[in-house]
């Protein structure tokens, strides 16, 4: 099963903006490429409710991406990018 990948407008602006350096941006894209194929196979499960599963995975030493998998619509939504530390 393949999922479609969408991103919230707020995070979209963050990805396009200068604060995300080239290295982090490259890692972010690499992570995105893996998500539509197996969103449940990467990262860590945080919460599961009905058709929705919230998971996170790390990007580099400080990045944390949060995404929601919706089994009903086969959609993965990138919800947040957080910097740790």
């Amino acid at each position: 099963m393949s999922y479609s990948l969408v991103i919230t407008e707020e995070i979209s602006a963050m990805v396009k903006s200068p604060p995300m350096d080239k290295f982090t941006h490259a890692m972010f894209i690499e992570a995105m490429i893996n998500l539509p194929v197996d969103p449940h196979g990467v990262g860590s499960l945080v919460r599961s409710e009905g058709a929705f599963t919230t998971r996170t995975f790390s990007v580099g030493p400080h990045g944390l991406i949060t995404y929601v998998v919706d089994e009903t619509t086969a959609t993965v939504t990138i919800v947040d990018v957080t910097w740790l530390g």
Partner: protein, 151 residues
Amino acid sequence: MTRPSTAVATARMPQLSPEPCGKVRRASHDLMAKAARRRYVGNVTAMPSDANATPRRISLPRTIRAIKQALTAEQRAQFMAELEDIEAGGLRAVVEKWWLTAVLNLSGTWERVEQVKAGTARTAPIEDVIPDFAERFEQFHGQPYVGHVGR
């Protein structure tokens, strides 16, 4: 050696007054604005994103104390119940799971998760953000990216 007079010394320090003015007012306003954006939970800090869409920056130690402080009362009760029942080998996984929950609490992520679940979040296809996404996907996986267009 001459010492600065008291008047000069105190004039260099920001003064707290009911009606600050000029530079002091601006400095005070800036400090308050920063304090308002940064949420403190014990030794934990969280700086939410501002208008230029910089990532939220969270600092949260992976200690039971810090995690407890960043959880809601209901989450804290669940966390403590799990801690009481967990065997030593499983402690790391439980702490990691609740640390992630606490980080998402501090960053305000749950509100955005709820918007996604309710269908009210404003979203865009990944191809709009990364124009060559489908091409990269196919190169990596050897199969076309279906995305929204193909559904």
